[in-house]
Amino acid sequence: MKTMTNPKVQIDNVTKVFSGHKKNSPVLALDTTSLTVMPNEFITILGPSGCGKSTLLRIVAGLEEQTEGHIYLDGNEISGPSSNRGMVFQAYSLFPWLTVEENIQFGLKNSQMSPAQRKEVVQNYIELVRLNGFEKHYPRQLSGGMQQRVAIARALANDPDILLLDEPFGALDNQTRTLMQELLLEIWEKSNKTILFITHDVEESIFLANRVIVMTSRPGRIKADIPIDLHYPRPYNIKVDHRFLAYKEQLTELIREESLKAMMEVK
Protein backbone atom coordinates (compact mmCIF):
# COMPACT_ATOMS: atom_id res chain seq x y z
CA MET A 1 0.00 0.00 0.00
CA LYS A 2 1.06 3.52 -0.64
CA THR A 3 0.57 4.72 2.92
CA MET A 4 3.24 2.35 4.15
CA THR A 5 5.89 4.15 2.18
CA ASN A 6 4.77 7.66 3.14
CA PRO A 7 6.78 9.21 5.93
CA LYS A 8 5.13 9.53 9.33
CA VAL A 9 6.88 12.74 10.25
CA GLN A 10 8.77 15.09 8.03
CA ILE A 11 10.96 17.76 9.55
CA ASP A 12 11.76 20.15 6.73
CA ASN A 13 14.55 22.72 7.11
CA VAL A 14 13.59 23.72 10.62
CA THR A 15 15.56 26.42 12.41
CA LYS A 16 15.04 27.90 15.83
CA VAL A 17 16.40 31.20 17.05
CA PHE A 18 15.84 32.22 20.65
CA SER A 19 15.60 36.00 20.67
CA GLY A 20 18.02 37.47 23.16
CA HIS A 21 16.77 39.42 26.14
CA LYS A 22 18.00 43.03 26.37
CA LYS A 23 21.76 42.98 25.81
CA ASN A 24 22.06 39.28 25.02
CA SER A 25 22.34 38.52 21.33
CA PRO A 26 19.90 36.02 19.78
CA VAL A 27 20.92 32.36 19.99
CA LEU A 28 20.69 29.97 17.08
CA ALA A 29 19.58 26.80 18.87
CA LEU A 30 18.73 24.72 15.85
CA ASP A 31 20.26 25.17 12.41
CA THR A 32 18.41 24.06 9.26
CA THR A 33 17.48 20.56 10.34
CA SER A 34 15.68 18.04 8.17
CA LEU A 35 14.67 14.53 9.17
CA THR A 36 12.26 12.01 7.74
CA VAL A 37 10.69 9.52 10.12
CA MET A 38 9.02 6.45 8.61
CA PRO A 39 6.05 4.70 10.24
CA ASN A 40 6.94 2.33 13.08
CA GLU A 41 10.49 3.61 13.33
CA PHE A 42 12.22 3.94 16.68
CA ILE A 43 14.60 6.87 16.33
CA THR A 44 16.87 8.10 19.08
CA ILE A 45 18.38 11.56 18.89
CA LEU A 46 21.75 11.63 20.57
CA GLY A 47 23.62 14.78 21.49
CA PRO A 48 25.55 16.56 24.21
CA SER A 49 23.53 18.62 26.65
CA GLY A 50 22.42 21.98 25.31
CA CYS A 51 22.67 20.92 21.68
CA GLY A 52 19.08 21.73 20.82
CA LYS A 53 17.84 18.15 20.69
CA SER A 54 15.11 18.88 23.22
CA THR A 55 14.21 22.01 21.29
CA LEU A 56 13.72 19.91 18.16
CA LEU A 57 11.44 17.49 20.03
CA ARG A 58 9.47 20.32 21.61
CA ILE A 59 8.93 21.84 18.16
CA VAL A 60 7.60 18.51 16.89
CA ALA A 61 5.33 18.38 19.96
CA GLY A 62 4.10 21.88 19.16
CA LEU A 63 5.24 23.27 22.51
CA GLU A 64 7.78 25.52 20.82
CA GLU A 65 7.43 27.34 17.52
CA GLN A 66 10.12 27.03 14.88
CA THR A 67 11.60 30.22 13.45
CA GLU A 68 11.71 28.79 9.95
CA GLY A 69 10.78 25.54 8.23
CA HIS A 70 7.85 23.15 8.38
CA ILE A 71 6.87 19.96 10.14
CA TYR A 72 4.43 17.50 8.65
CA LEU A 73 2.63 14.65 10.36
CA ASP A 74 1.16 12.19 7.83
CA GLY A 75 1.54 14.92 5.22
CA ASN A 76 -0.35 17.59 7.23
CA GLU A 77 1.55 20.56 8.56
CA ILE A 78 1.39 20.81 12.33
CA SER A 79 0.93 23.90 14.44
CA GLY A 80 0.58 23.85 18.21
CA PRO A 81 0.32 20.85 20.53
CA SER A 82 -2.25 18.13 19.96
CA SER A 83 -3.15 14.73 21.31
CA ASN A 84 -1.90 13.06 18.12
CA ARG A 85 1.66 13.64 19.34
CA GLY A 86 2.09 12.13 22.80
CA MET A 87 4.90 13.43 24.96
CA VAL A 88 6.81 11.97 27.90
CA PHE A 89 8.88 14.47 29.85
CA GLN A 90 12.08 13.94 31.82
CA ALA A 91 10.39 13.80 35.23
CA TYR A 92 7.64 15.15 37.49
CA SER A 93 5.08 15.70 34.79
CA LEU A 94 2.34 13.62 36.41
CA PHE A 95 -0.60 15.46 37.93
CA PRO A 96 0.05 15.05 41.65
CA TRP A 97 -3.61 15.45 42.65
CA LEU A 98 -4.72 12.56 40.44
CA THR A 99 -4.27 8.86 41.11
CA VAL A 100 -2.43 6.60 38.69
CA GLU A 101 -5.61 5.64 36.84
CA GLU A 102 -6.91 9.22 36.80
CA ASN A 103 -3.60 10.39 35.35
CA ILE A 104 -3.78 7.80 32.58
CA GLN A 105 -7.39 8.76 31.94
CA PHE A 106 -6.63 12.50 31.73
CA GLY A 107 -6.34 12.64 27.94
CA LEU A 108 -9.36 10.41 27.38
CA LYS A 109 -11.69 12.85 29.09
CA ASN A 110 -12.38 14.79 25.91
CA SER A 111 -12.82 11.74 23.70
CA GLN A 112 -16.18 10.26 22.78
CA MET A 113 -15.65 7.14 24.88
CA SER A 114 -18.16 5.93 27.43
CA PRO A 115 -16.93 5.65 31.02
CA ALA A 116 -16.85 1.86 30.73
CA GLN A 117 -14.72 1.98 27.59
CA ARG A 118 -12.40 4.47 29.25
CA LYS A 119 -11.99 2.21 32.23
CA GLU A 120 -11.09 -0.66 29.97
CA VAL A 121 -8.48 1.39 28.10
CA VAL A 122 -6.95 2.56 31.38
CA GLN A 123 -6.81 -1.00 32.69
CA ASN A 124 -5.10 -2.17 29.50
CA TYR A 125 -2.36 0.43 29.81
CA ILE A 126 -1.91 -0.20 33.51
CA GLU A 127 -1.25 -3.82 32.65
CA LEU A 128 1.02 -2.84 29.78
CA VAL A 129 3.33 -0.85 32.06
CA ARG A 130 2.86 -3.45 34.86
CA LEU A 131 1.35 -1.21 37.50
CA ASN A 132 -1.45 -3.53 38.56
CA GLY A 133 -2.36 -2.86 42.16
CA PHE A 134 -1.19 0.77 42.03
CA GLU A 135 -4.31 2.19 40.34
CA LYS A 136 -5.35 4.21 43.38
CA HIS A 137 -1.88 5.47 44.33
CA TYR A 138 -0.89 9.11 44.04
CA PRO A 139 2.29 9.98 42.11
CA ARG A 140 4.24 10.92 45.24
CA GLN A 141 3.69 7.42 46.57
CA LEU A 142 5.53 5.93 43.58
CA SER A 143 9.22 5.53 42.76
CA GLY A 144 10.76 7.50 39.90
CA GLY A 145 10.63 4.50 37.57
CA MET A 146 6.98 3.83 38.32
CA GLN A 147 6.13 7.49 37.76
CA GLN A 148 7.71 7.38 34.32
CA ARG A 149 5.76 4.22 33.52
CA VAL A 150 2.56 6.10 34.36
CA ALA A 151 3.73 8.97 32.15
CA ILE A 152 4.29 6.55 29.25
CA ALA A 153 0.90 4.90 29.79
CA ARG A 154 -0.76 8.32 29.97
CA ALA A 155 0.77 9.36 26.64
CA LEU A 156 -0.10 6.03 24.99
CA ALA A 157 -3.69 5.94 26.26
CA ASN A 158 -4.56 8.75 23.85
CA ASP A 159 -3.41 6.50 20.99
CA PRO A 160 -1.13 9.17 19.45
CA ASP A 161 0.35 8.84 15.95
CA ILE A 162 3.82 9.36 17.33
CA LEU A 163 5.33 9.12 20.79
CA LEU A 164 7.91 11.76 21.76
CA LEU A 165 10.17 11.05 24.72
CA ASP A 166 12.50 13.70 26.13
CA GLU A 167 15.21 11.90 28.13
CA PRO A 168 12.49 10.02 30.02
CA PHE A 169 14.89 7.80 31.93
CA GLY A 170 17.55 10.43 32.59
CA ALA A 171 16.67 10.85 36.25
CA LEU A 172 16.54 7.11 37.02
CA ASP A 173 19.26 4.93 38.50
CA ASN A 174 21.13 2.59 36.17
CA GLN A 175 19.32 -0.65 37.01
CA THR A 176 15.87 0.88 36.75
CA ARG A 177 16.82 2.59 33.53
CA THR A 178 17.88 -0.71 31.93
CA LEU A 179 14.58 -2.34 32.86
CA MET A 180 12.63 0.66 31.58
CA GLN A 181 14.44 0.45 28.24
CA GLU A 182 13.45 -3.20 27.88
CA LEU A 183 9.86 -2.38 28.83
CA LEU A 184 9.71 0.46 26.29
CA LEU A 185 11.04 -1.80 23.52
CA GLU A 186 8.43 -4.40 24.43
CA ILE A 187 5.67 -1.78 24.30
CA TRP A 188 6.95 -0.48 20.98
CA GLU A 189 6.98 -3.96 19.44
CA LYS A 190 3.43 -4.61 20.66
CA SER A 191 1.94 -1.25 19.70
CA ASN A 192 3.61 -0.49 16.34
CA LYS A 193 4.02 3.13 17.36
CA THR A 194 6.49 5.54 15.82
CA ILE A 195 8.89 6.83 18.45
CA LEU A 196 11.25 9.78 18.68
CA PHE A 197 13.45 9.47 21.76
CA ILE A 198 15.94 12.07 23.03
CA THR A 199 18.95 10.93 25.03
CA HIS A 200 22.54 11.80 25.83
CA ASP A 201 23.34 8.19 26.72
CA VAL A 202 25.18 6.38 23.92
CA GLU A 203 24.30 2.87 25.08
CA GLU A 204 20.64 3.76 25.46
CA SER A 205 20.52 5.28 21.99
CA ILE A 206 21.86 2.08 20.36
CA PHE A 207 19.88 -0.40 22.45
CA LEU A 208 16.53 1.17 21.61
CA ALA A 209 16.77 2.52 18.11
CA ASN A 210 16.70 1.30 14.56
CA ARG A 211 18.28 4.68 13.70
CA VAL A 212 20.45 6.95 15.79
CA ILE A 213 20.60 10.62 14.86
CA VAL A 214 23.70 12.34 16.21
CA MET A 215 23.46 16.09 16.73
CA THR A 216 26.17 18.72 16.84
CA SER A 217 26.42 21.12 19.72
CA ARG A 218 25.44 24.76 19.37
CA PRO A 219 23.99 25.36 16.94
CA GLY A 220 22.23 22.02 16.81
CA ARG A 221 22.50 20.31 13.47
CA ILE A 222 22.29 16.69 12.34
CA LYS A 223 25.81 15.34 12.26
CA ALA A 224 25.21 11.69 11.48
CA ASP A 225 22.31 9.34 10.76
CA ILE A 226 23.32 5.83 11.70
CA PRO A 227 21.03 2.83 11.11
CA ILE A 228 21.41 0.22 13.84
CA ASP A 229 21.40 -3.16 12.20
CA LEU A 230 20.56 -5.31 15.20
CA HIS A 231 17.58 -7.65 15.31
CA TYR A 232 14.53 -7.10 17.46
CA PRO A 233 13.59 -8.32 20.01
CA ARG A 234 16.87 -7.33 21.58
CA PRO A 235 17.87 -9.18 24.71
CA TYR A 236 19.49 -7.13 27.47
CA ASN A 237 22.83 -8.89 26.97
CA ILE A 238 23.08 -7.56 23.42
CA LYS A 239 24.90 -4.67 25.06
CA VAL A 240 28.05 -6.82 25.23
CA ASP A 241 27.71 -8.16 21.69
CA HIS A 242 30.68 -7.16 19.49
CA ARG A 243 28.43 -5.48 16.91
CA PHE A 244 26.80 -3.43 19.66
CA LEU A 245 30.21 -2.46 20.98
CA ALA A 246 31.33 -1.40 17.51
CA TYR A 247 28.34 0.98 17.29
CA LYS A 248 29.15 2.19 20.75
CA GLU A 249 32.73 3.00 19.78
CA GLN A 250 31.67 4.82 16.65
CA LEU A 251 29.00 6.89 18.42
CA THR A 252 31.18 7.61 21.43
CA GLU A 253 33.78 9.12 19.07
CA LEU A 254 31.17 11.23 17.31
CA ILE A 255 29.60 12.51 20.50
CA ARG A 256 32.93 13.14 22.21
CA GLU A 257 33.99 15.66 19.58
CA GLU A 258 30.77 17.55 20.17
CA SER A 259 31.03 17.43 23.95
CA LEU A 260 34.56 18.81 23.77
CA LYS A 261 33.42 21.57 21.48
CA ALA A 262 30.53 22.38 23.80
CA MET A 263 32.85 22.46 26.80
CA MET A 264 35.15 25.00 25.16
CA GLU A 265 32.24 27.28 24.32
CA VAL A 266 30.88 27.50 27.82
CA LYS A 267 32.08 30.69 29.41
Binding site: A61, S82, G86, S93, F95, P96, W97, F106, L164
Partner: protein, 289 residues
Amino acid sequence: MEKLVKNEEAVEQAPILPVHNKNKKNRNKKWLQPQENIPHKLYLTVSVSSVVLLFAVWSLLTYSGLVDPLFLPTPTEIIYSGMVLFTEFGFIHDITITVYRVLAGFSIAVIIGLPLGILMGTFKVVEAFFEPTISAIRYMPASAFIPLFILWIGVGELEKITIIFVGTFFSLVLMTAVEVANVRRELLEAAYTLGRSNFSVLLSVILPASIPGIMEIIRLILGWAWSYIIVAELVASSSGIGSLILESQRMLKTGNIIFGILTIGVLGLLSDLILKVSIRKMFPWHYGR
Protein backbone atom coordinates in the same frame (compact mmCIF):
# COMPACT_ATOMS: atom_id res chain seq x y z
CA MET B 1 42.01 2.25 89.74
CA GLU B 2 41.41 -1.42 89.41
CA LYS B 3 38.10 -0.83 87.76
CA LEU B 4 39.69 1.33 85.13
CA VAL B 5 42.19 -1.35 84.22
CA LYS B 6 39.41 -3.87 83.93
CA ASN B 7 37.59 -1.62 81.54
CA GLU B 8 40.63 -1.28 79.37
CA GLU B 9 40.97 -5.04 79.18
CA ALA B 10 37.40 -5.34 78.13
CA VAL B 11 38.04 -2.83 75.40
CA GLU B 12 40.96 -4.82 74.07
CA GLN B 13 39.11 -8.08 74.09
CA ALA B 14 36.04 -6.92 72.34
CA PRO B 15 36.89 -4.25 69.77
CA ILE B 16 33.32 -4.07 68.52
CA LEU B 17 32.06 -2.89 71.89
CA PRO B 18 33.75 0.54 72.06
CA VAL B 19 32.59 1.39 68.57
CA HIS B 20 29.07 0.52 69.60
CA ASN B 21 29.38 2.59 72.76
CA LYS B 22 30.63 5.54 70.82
CA ASN B 23 27.59 5.44 68.57
CA LYS B 24 25.30 5.25 71.52
CA LYS B 25 26.95 8.28 73.09
CA ASN B 26 26.43 10.25 69.91
CA ARG B 27 22.84 9.16 69.71
CA ASN B 28 22.23 10.43 73.23
CA LYS B 29 23.41 13.88 72.22
CA LYS B 30 21.25 14.06 69.14
CA TRP B 31 19.51 17.17 70.39
CA LEU B 32 22.79 19.03 69.93
CA GLN B 33 23.00 18.03 66.27
CA PRO B 34 21.70 20.67 63.84
CA GLN B 35 18.29 19.81 62.31
CA GLU B 36 18.35 16.30 63.77
CA ASN B 37 15.01 14.91 64.94
CA ILE B 38 14.53 14.22 68.64
CA PRO B 39 12.29 11.59 70.25
CA HIS B 40 8.63 12.56 70.30
CA LYS B 41 8.45 12.18 74.06
CA LEU B 42 11.35 14.56 74.63
CA TYR B 43 9.80 17.09 72.27
CA LEU B 44 6.50 16.96 74.13
CA THR B 45 8.16 17.27 77.53
CA VAL B 46 10.16 20.32 76.47
CA SER B 47 7.08 21.97 74.94
CA VAL B 48 4.94 21.41 78.01
CA SER B 49 7.65 22.60 80.36
CA SER B 50 7.91 25.94 78.55
CA VAL B 51 4.22 26.61 79.23
CA VAL B 52 4.58 25.43 82.83
CA LEU B 53 7.60 27.68 83.29
CA LEU B 54 5.70 30.70 82.00
CA PHE B 55 2.87 30.05 84.46
CA ALA B 56 5.33 29.47 87.29
CA VAL B 57 7.10 32.80 86.74
CA TRP B 58 3.78 34.60 86.39
CA SER B 59 2.41 33.03 89.59
CA LEU B 60 5.60 33.74 91.48
CA LEU B 61 5.57 37.41 90.50
CA THR B 62 1.88 37.97 91.24
CA TYR B 63 0.97 35.77 94.24
CA SER B 64 4.07 36.91 96.11
CA GLY B 65 3.05 40.55 95.66
CA LEU B 66 6.26 41.43 93.84
CA VAL B 67 4.24 43.07 91.09
CA ASP B 68 1.39 45.52 91.60
CA PRO B 69 -1.89 43.75 90.61
CA LEU B 70 -2.83 46.88 88.70
CA PHE B 71 -0.09 46.02 86.21
CA LEU B 72 -0.33 42.25 86.27
CA PRO B 73 -3.11 40.41 88.14
CA THR B 74 -2.77 36.83 89.36
CA PRO B 75 -3.98 33.93 87.15
CA THR B 76 -6.98 33.38 89.45
CA GLU B 77 -7.98 37.02 89.18
CA ILE B 78 -7.91 36.84 85.41
CA ILE B 79 -10.06 33.72 85.39
CA TYR B 80 -12.44 35.52 87.72
CA SER B 81 -12.55 38.61 85.44
CA GLY B 82 -13.34 36.31 82.56
CA MET B 83 -16.22 34.70 84.41
CA VAL B 84 -17.65 38.08 85.34
CA LEU B 85 -17.31 39.25 81.75
CA PHE B 86 -19.29 36.29 80.49
CA THR B 87 -21.96 36.29 83.17
CA GLU B 88 -22.55 40.00 83.81
CA PHE B 89 -21.28 41.91 80.80
CA GLY B 90 -22.47 39.77 77.90
CA PHE B 91 -18.95 39.04 76.68
CA ILE B 92 -20.26 36.35 74.36
CA HIS B 93 -22.01 39.09 72.39
CA ASP B 94 -18.69 40.93 71.95
CA ILE B 95 -17.03 37.75 70.77
CA THR B 96 -19.84 37.07 68.28
CA ILE B 97 -19.72 40.55 66.82
CA THR B 98 -15.91 40.45 66.48
CA VAL B 99 -15.97 37.04 64.81
CA TYR B 100 -18.76 38.21 62.51
CA ARG B 101 -16.76 41.28 61.40
CA VAL B 102 -13.66 39.23 60.70
CA LEU B 103 -15.52 36.56 58.76
CA ALA B 104 -17.58 39.06 56.77
CA GLY B 105 -14.62 41.24 55.76
CA PHE B 106 -12.36 38.31 55.05
CA SER B 107 -14.99 36.37 53.08
CA ILE B 108 -15.56 39.34 50.78
CA ALA B 109 -11.78 39.63 50.31
CA VAL B 110 -11.58 35.93 49.41
CA ILE B 111 -14.60 35.97 47.09
CA ILE B 112 -13.22 38.88 45.05
CA GLY B 113 -9.51 38.32 45.64
CA LEU B 114 -9.17 34.66 44.72
CA PRO B 115 -10.54 34.85 41.16
CA LEU B 116 -8.57 38.05 40.56
CA GLY B 117 -5.35 36.52 41.91
CA ILE B 118 -5.85 33.36 39.85
CA LEU B 119 -6.41 35.40 36.68
CA MET B 120 -3.35 37.56 37.43
CA GLY B 121 -1.18 34.48 37.94
CA THR B 122 -2.47 32.88 34.76
CA PHE B 123 -2.63 35.72 32.25
CA LYS B 124 0.19 38.23 32.00
CA VAL B 125 -2.20 40.84 30.56
CA VAL B 126 -4.33 40.79 33.70
CA GLU B 127 -1.19 40.94 35.82
CA ALA B 128 0.14 43.95 33.90
CA PHE B 129 -3.14 45.77 34.40
CA PHE B 130 -3.66 45.21 38.14
CA GLU B 131 -0.18 44.66 39.55
CA PRO B 132 1.04 48.30 39.89
CA THR B 133 -2.04 49.54 41.77
CA ILE B 134 -2.41 46.52 44.02
CA SER B 135 1.30 46.41 44.88
CA ALA B 136 1.23 50.08 45.84
CA ILE B 137 -1.83 49.81 48.07
CA ARG B 138 -0.49 46.64 49.67
CA TYR B 139 2.18 48.65 51.46
CA MET B 140 -0.24 51.23 52.82
CA PRO B 141 -1.23 50.03 56.29
CA ALA B 142 -4.94 49.35 56.63
CA SER B 143 -5.03 51.03 60.03
CA ALA B 144 -3.97 54.32 58.46
CA PHE B 145 -7.13 54.23 56.36
CA ILE B 146 -9.40 54.15 59.42
CA PRO B 147 -9.91 57.94 59.71
CA LEU B 148 -10.65 58.10 56.00
CA PHE B 149 -13.19 55.29 56.19
CA ILE B 150 -14.90 56.91 59.18
CA LEU B 151 -15.17 60.08 57.14
CA TRP B 152 -16.58 58.20 54.16
CA ILE B 153 -18.84 55.57 55.69
CA GLY B 154 -19.18 56.41 59.39
CA VAL B 155 -18.48 54.15 62.35
CA GLY B 156 -20.96 51.37 61.63
CA GLU B 157 -20.41 47.72 60.79
CA LEU B 158 -19.53 48.52 57.21
CA GLU B 159 -16.50 50.51 58.34
CA LYS B 160 -15.12 47.58 60.39
CA ILE B 161 -15.73 45.15 57.57
CA THR B 162 -14.07 47.50 55.11
CA ILE B 163 -10.94 47.68 57.28
CA ILE B 164 -10.68 43.89 57.38
CA PHE B 165 -11.20 43.79 53.63
CA VAL B 166 -8.52 46.40 52.91
CA GLY B 167 -6.13 44.75 55.36
CA THR B 168 -6.36 41.36 53.69
CA PHE B 169 -7.51 41.76 50.09
CA PHE B 170 -4.39 43.15 48.42
CA SER B 171 -1.91 40.71 49.91
CA LEU B 172 -4.30 37.86 49.22
CA VAL B 173 -4.49 38.79 45.54
CA LEU B 174 -0.74 39.16 45.09
CA MET B 175 0.20 36.01 47.00
CA THR B 176 -2.42 33.98 45.13
CA ALA B 177 -1.08 35.30 41.83
CA VAL B 178 2.46 34.21 42.72
CA GLU B 179 1.26 30.77 43.82
CA VAL B 180 -0.68 30.27 40.60
CA ALA B 181 2.18 31.53 38.43
CA ASN B 182 4.46 28.97 40.05
CA VAL B 183 2.49 25.97 38.80
CA ARG B 184 5.04 23.79 37.03
CA ARG B 185 5.32 24.43 33.32
CA GLU B 186 5.61 20.70 32.59
CA LEU B 187 2.13 20.10 33.96
CA LEU B 188 0.62 22.61 31.54
CA GLU B 189 2.65 21.23 28.64
CA ALA B 190 1.66 17.67 29.49
CA ALA B 191 -1.98 18.74 29.45
CA TYR B 192 -1.56 20.42 26.05
CA THR B 193 0.00 17.31 24.53
CA LEU B 194 -2.91 15.32 25.96
CA GLY B 195 -5.26 17.44 23.90
CA ARG B 196 -6.44 20.08 26.36
CA SER B 197 -7.27 23.65 25.35
CA ASN B 198 -6.10 26.83 27.10
CA PHE B 199 -9.34 27.19 29.03
CA SER B 200 -9.46 23.55 29.99
CA VAL B 201 -5.87 23.75 31.29
CA LEU B 202 -6.85 26.60 33.60
CA LEU B 203 -9.64 24.52 35.14
CA SER B 204 -8.11 21.06 35.09
CA VAL B 205 -4.44 21.84 35.81
CA ILE B 206 -3.76 25.32 37.16
CA LEU B 207 -6.59 25.30 39.70
CA PRO B 208 -6.07 21.87 41.25
CA ALA B 209 -2.28 22.31 41.25
CA SER B 210 -2.37 25.59 43.14
CA ILE B 211 -5.30 25.09 45.51
CA PRO B 212 -3.35 23.63 48.45
CA GLY B 213 -0.93 26.57 48.33
CA ILE B 214 -3.80 29.03 48.05
CA MET B 215 -5.47 27.49 51.11
CA GLU B 216 -2.23 27.96 53.05
CA ILE B 217 -2.20 31.61 51.99
CA ILE B 218 -5.80 32.01 53.19
CA ARG B 219 -4.78 30.48 56.50
CA LEU B 220 -1.87 32.87 56.88
CA ILE B 221 -3.83 36.00 55.99
CA LEU B 222 -6.79 35.09 58.22
CA GLY B 223 -4.27 35.40 61.05
CA TRP B 224 -3.65 39.02 60.09
CA ALA B 225 -7.40 39.74 60.03
CA TRP B 226 -7.56 39.09 63.79
CA SER B 227 -5.12 41.90 64.50
CA TYR B 228 -6.82 44.34 62.12
CA ILE B 229 -10.20 43.84 63.77
CA ILE B 230 -8.84 44.82 67.17
CA VAL B 231 -7.32 47.99 65.74
CA ALA B 232 -10.64 48.80 64.08
CA GLU B 233 -12.56 48.20 67.31
CA LEU B 234 -10.11 50.21 69.41
CA VAL B 235 -10.63 53.34 67.33
CA ALA B 236 -14.38 53.79 67.14
CA SER B 237 -16.63 51.08 68.40
CA SER B 238 -19.11 50.35 71.17
CA SER B 239 -19.04 46.60 70.79
CA GLY B 240 -16.53 43.85 70.15
CA ILE B 241 -13.49 42.57 72.00
CA GLY B 242 -11.38 45.57 70.98
CA SER B 243 -13.81 48.09 72.45
CA LEU B 244 -14.01 46.04 75.65
CA ILE B 245 -10.24 46.19 75.95
CA LEU B 246 -10.27 49.96 75.53
CA GLU B 247 -13.07 50.44 78.06
CA SER B 248 -11.28 48.21 80.57
CA GLN B 249 -8.20 50.36 80.25
CA ARG B 250 -10.22 53.46 81.11
CA MET B 251 -11.52 51.73 84.22
CA LEU B 252 -8.14 50.22 85.11
CA LYS B 253 -9.49 46.68 84.85
CA THR B 254 -6.23 44.97 83.89
CA GLY B 255 -7.72 41.51 84.27
CA ASN B 256 -10.33 42.25 81.59
CA ILE B 257 -7.67 43.57 79.21
CA ILE B 258 -5.58 40.44 79.55
CA PHE B 259 -8.63 38.18 79.28
CA GLY B 260 -9.66 40.02 76.08
CA ILE B 261 -6.21 39.58 74.58
CA LEU B 262 -6.19 35.90 75.48
CA THR B 263 -9.63 35.47 73.89
CA ILE B 264 -8.37 36.93 70.61
CA GLY B 265 -5.37 34.60 70.79
CA VAL B 266 -7.60 31.57 71.32
CA LEU B 267 -9.92 32.61 68.47
CA GLY B 268 -6.99 33.05 66.11
CA LEU B 269 -5.45 29.76 67.15
CA LEU B 270 -8.78 27.97 66.77
CA SER B 271 -9.49 29.30 63.29
CA ASP B 272 -5.94 28.46 62.26
CA LEU B 273 -6.24 24.94 63.61
CA ILE B 274 -9.57 24.31 61.88
CA LEU B 275 -8.14 25.46 58.55
CA LYS B 276 -4.92 23.51 59.03
CA VAL B 277 -6.70 20.25 59.75
CA SER B 278 -9.24 20.66 56.97
CA ILE B 279 -6.52 21.51 54.42
CA ARG B 280 -4.68 18.29 55.31
CA LYS B 281 -7.93 16.35 55.02
CA MET B 282 -8.86 17.94 51.70
CA PHE B 283 -5.56 17.40 49.91
CA PRO B 284 -4.14 14.04 50.95
CA TRP B 285 -2.10 13.91 47.73
CA HIS B 286 -0.18 17.00 48.82
CA TYR B 287 0.71 15.98 52.36
CA GLY B 288 2.20 12.79 53.72
CA ARG B 289 2.25 9.39 52.13
